[in-house]
Subunit: 193 residues, 2 copies
């Protein structure tokens, strides 16, 4: 097991309905030293990729992307999920359905912050059905920018998002891929990488 799998095995909590709670270190309380190690690992995995910008989505992607960006030395843009009165001018908009919240959101990025010269690394905390990720990819394509890769902390390998993204040819680096969880025993099975 790598450092993130070990942490998930130790502190992740498995609930009924394929819910994996990692809120003590990943998406409510954030272990910044862990995020730093994740950033270092992605930097290694995307060594050959020339990246100009990191794109993530609010809210739980932001902390991971910001700390990871210390290793890439590029700006981070975070997509917003709702239209803000402070967000004016031309925007890229994609519609995204959240698996967790059962709601549709518009994912919005200002056109000022992504253009055809950008080579984008997309970072997010979770990949399950991949709806948020599809919205982010749509936005990068609308900008005419290139997707250099996708970095995910925790992929739920038994849901279709990861396979779909790999089938589309994207370089997807999930630091932990969960292939199964047992809410009765709390046991988590990781995919060999």
């Amino acid at each position: 097991m790598n450092f993130l799998e070990k942490r998930i095995a130790r502190d992740g909590i498995v609930k009924e309905g394929n819910v994996l709670k990692v809120d003590s270190f990943l998406n409510h309380q954030m272990d910044i030293a862990l995020f730093d190690e994740m950033g270092r690992e992605w930097k290694k995995r995307f060594e050959g990729n020339k990246i100009t910008k990191i794109l993530t989505i609010e809210a739980s992607g932001i902390g991971i992307a910001a700390v990871a960006a210390m290793h890439f030395k590029v700006p981070v843009v975070f997509a917003k999920k709702a239209k803000s009165i402070n967000l004016e001018g031309e925007m890229y908009v994609a519609e995204v359905e959240s698996f967790t919240h059962k709601t549709k959101n518009q994912v919005i990025v200002s056109k000022k912050f992504l253009d055809q010269d950008d080579r984008v690394l997309v970072i997010d905390d979770f990949l399950a059905n991949g709806c948020a990720l599809q919205g982010l990819i749509q936005i990068v394509q609308s900008a005419g920018a290139a997707i250099e890769g996708i970095g995910i902390a925790v992929e739920k390998g038994f849901q279709p998002g990861g396979r779909m993204i790999r089938n589309l040819g994207y370089k997807l680096e999930s630091l932990a891929i969960v292939d199964g969880m047992d809410p009765a025993t709390g046991e988590i099975t990781f995919r060999e990488q």
Copy 2:
């Protein structure tokens, strides 16, 4: 002018209605090297304070708090603005009214991540009327934790939030305090610190 005031003077955009747009480096696109410098500055200003945890609020506080936390070597907890089905168990809840969005939100932090032994540094990107900050303070008090200080990137000094917080006796360190803005000329006046 300090490093942040210089950056605001260069890249901030003044709009009618006392709107200061800093979305190219602070709260939509994020300049991580700038955040790192902000973290270093807060670390200096809170040198004598023993801090065990940083508390912020989604979404635009998260990136700043996460990078700042690299200097404090403590975990970050971000308060959520809406109830999530993944957020179960006991929670601290405070009601907050957003000046920007004209809506009321519940600010929520899991009781697991704040307790009476915590000495909290609250970090956020903006302070204007101080509604979000009041919600965060309420939550820290509900937890029986201590507020060691409050770090704000940009305070609008002509709105009442900052004065109210200082009147309450909190150690508030705003890295830039805007005392006036002229939408006709784009000129921004900073308070001498």
